[in-house]
């Protein structure tokens, strides 16, 4: 485990990092409950867990204001919770129940909570890059001080919309932070094997966007890098790009055994758990073991309650299949 001498600095913000630790526990507990729920048949569709990647969500979104906008990916539970979405509504969405974030119409891959500035996960890799860019374009037209953060995976950098969106954000100097959550894999494929040149950051640089790269399993490092980038974006300096190197501890989906990854590599990353690393830092900063244990227990227990409540919630009315489609040509009037 890496030791950063910087952690011993007197200005180490314990409250801030305890809060982030709680958030990371919440994200992990959410996904552990979701995986358990899937085994029981409660989660209906595919889920893409982000276990092992929680520091990216907590470190980046922890620096956003509620009014700021954020767009995520198919692997978006962590980002969404970190942006402030309600865990019970999210669990209900995964279970396809009434009161789900999207009323049971979307499921895991389409979670959105516009009330907290979460403009959607997306089932199409890379699709949120132009959408985030457009949201930032609108904010600029409106003279808003809000910013947009767009998180995507390393696989997305090989899609055309990545280039189109980044170029656009630079051309129009838009208030958007692009975050590449690089977990080394695009489904079952090692992204490096399918990527020409030096990859995500270099591509952003080539388009004139300032770029930073960070150990994505080090919450303190992600937090610091995100803060700097977000301040620059908010100050009107145009787009920024941040690559966070991380690793998912599960398969691509919760049912993928991930046999394509060498066991030793997985073990190495297991020893690099972002939650354990932040706990080490907090212990070094004088936080008692009991407080850390307590914090973990509290979050896990709260999430178990949430899962229990979610499973007891009713199914949505079938008529919902016809609502929220369109006003002109509303299928409730005519669907044939």
């Amino acid at each position: 485990m890496k030791e950063d001498p910087g952690l011993r600095r007197d200005n180490f913000d314990r409250e801030r990092f305890l809060e982030r630790l709680a958030l990371m526990h919440r994200i992990r507990a959410f996904e552990e409950e979701a995986i358990a729920g899937q085994k029981e048949g409660l989660v209906l569709g595919a889920i893409h867990p982000s276990i092992g990647q929680e520091a990216v969500a907590a470190g980046v979104c922890g620096n956003l204001e509620t009014a700021d906008l954020m767009l995520s990916t198919h692997r978006g539970h962590g980002h969404t919770l970190a942006k402030g979405a309600d865990a019970l509504a999210m669990m209900r969405e995964l279970f396809g129940r009434e009161g789900g974030t999207c009323g049971g119409k979307g499921g895991s891959m389409h979670i959105a909570d516009f009330g907290v500035g979460m403009l959607g996960a997306n089932g199409v890799v890379g699709a949120n890059i132009p959408i985030a860019t457009g949201a930032a374009h609108a904010l600029k037209l409106q003279g808003s001080r809000q910013i947009v953060t767009c998180i995507f995976g390393d696989g997305a950098v090989n899609r055309g919309p990545f280039m189109e969106g980044l170029n656009w954000a630079r051309v129009f100097d838009l208030p958007v932070l692009f975050v590449c959550e690089d977990n080394n894999f695009s489904a079952t494929t090692r992204t490096r094997d399918m990527t020409g040149g030096a990859g995500a950051g270099a591509r952003a640089e080539s388009l004139g966007i300032d770029t930073a790269e960070v150990d994505g399993n080090d919450l303190i490092a992600v937090d610091a890098a995100a803060r700097v980038a977000i301040e620059a974006v908010r100050a009107g300096q145009g787009p920024r790009f941040l690559t966070c190197h991380t690793y998912r501890m599960t398969g691509h989906t919760s049912v993928d055994p991930a046999a394509y990854r060498p066991a030793q590599e997985v073990e190495e990353w297991r020893g690099n758990d972002p939650i354990a690393r932040l706990e080490v830092a907090l212990r070094m900063a004088g936080i008692e073991e009991a407080q850390l244990t307590d914090l973990h227990r509290t979050e896990a227990a709260a999430m178990a309650d949430i899962a229990r409540t979610a499973r007891e919630t009713d199914w949505p009315e079938a008529v919902g299949a016809f609502t929220d489609v369109q006003d002109v040509g509303d299928p409730r009037e005519r669907a044939y």
């Binding site: 119409k105 089932g123 132009p130 374009h137 919309p161």
Partner: protein, 328 residues
């Protein structure tokens, strides 16, 4: 009344709506110099480069950015230049714009208009001539509009800009120079309402976009023979004006659907099937549909014309329904 071209009517619609609503803006390639056909001429001077935005040649991002901007309190007019290029932005339109409101449980809407000029025009060949409206009618979430006259291009484009749903707005390139009367003052044409372009008792011609002209021409020829064809211009393809079409076919007992697009899986098939289902026992002749053969559109006029539905073909089809051949 003032005289105006179809192109100028569209331009007026954009100006009026941008003046009325500061959240309306337009984005696309070359808009600063008026757009490829001049539909935006002078607009950047009037509204500034922020609201008449020149963009990179990035169709996916033009459409995707419009989706994000529509979710963020603005009403973008997306200029795709040619409907053929909108195919570079199909994910953004079909998976994103059309689905977002539903997928996210009605938390927001995506009020945008995609202007994508369609149709055959000046030997433009296979990648600049297509009419793909039926693709979009197939997609829940989208409204599909295809104006055929200057007045409709004014009134429908204004309605499309005010609509809270994503609207695919297909102007016909061959109609840009078409002249017609525009009413003074505010002129709004409601979405989903057809126009009875000509009344008649003997047969119903259902059409839209560039084929309205051909149908009216055919109707004149037929009238000289004593056959009175009713010409219905649908104007909006989804939702299409079923009541007007059904009422007309109940009256005439005969239906010929005419469109420029390839006949196979064209939107005419939908109308023909709907009428056949609803009015089978009222029909005096089998329904007919006219569209292009399933061939790419060629460059040389001799070959290009093979893809055209001529007034002669329309006349022949109506004659055939009015005087069905004896079954031997």
């Amino acid at each position: 009344m003032t005289n105006s071209t179809y192109l100028e009517a569209g331009r007026r619609a954009v100006i009026e709506e941008m003046e009325r609503d500061p959240s309306v803006w337009a984005l696309g390639e070359d808009l600063g110099r008026g757009g490829v056909f001049g539909q935006y001429k002078g607009l950047q001077d009037m509204f500034g480069a922020g609201r008449i935005a020149d963009t990179p040649i990035s169709e996916a991002c033009i459409m995707g950015a419009a989706v994000g901007a529509a979710m963020t309190g603005t009403r973008p007019i997306v200029e795709m230049r040619f409907s053929d290029f909108a195919l570079c932005a199909i994910d953004e339109l079909v998976n994103q714009a059309a689905k977002a409101r539903f997928m996210f449980g009605g938390q927001m809407r995506v009020p945008l208009v995609v202007r994508e000029p369609v149709g055959m025009w000046r030997s433009s060949a296979a990648q600049h001539s297509q009419s793909l409206e039926s693709w979009y009618t197939h997609i829940p979430g989208l409204v599909v509009v295809a104006p055929a006259t200057p007045a409709d291009n004014l009134g429908l484009l204004k309605s499309a800009i005010r609509c809270d749903d994503p609207v695919v707005y297909m102007e016909h390139k061959n109609l840009w120079a078409l002249e017609g009367e525009l009413p003074e003052g505010e002129h709004i044409v409601p979405l989903g309402k057809a126009d009875i372009a000509r009344e008649g008792r003997d047969a119903t011609l259902v059409t839209w976009s560039g084929m309205r002209q051909g149908c009216l021409k055919a109707a004149e020829t037929l009238s000289a023979e004593g056959i009175e064809a009713e010409v219905i211009d649908l104007r909006t393809l989804w939702p299409w004006d079923r009541d007007t079409v059904m009422a007309s076919v109940e009256k005439t007992g005969r239906l010929v659907v005419v469109h420029e697009a390839v006949a196979v899986s064209g939107f005419g098939a939908e109308i023909a099937a709907s009428v056949a289902e609803a009015l089978h026992f009222r029909l005096k002749a089998p329904v007919a549909r006219l569209g292009a053969p399933r061939i790419p559109i060629a460059y040389a006029p001799t070959m290009e014309d093979e893809a055209r539905v001529s007034p002669q073909r329309i006349v022949a089809a109506v004659r055939k329904t009015v005087q069905p051949a004896e079954v031997s």
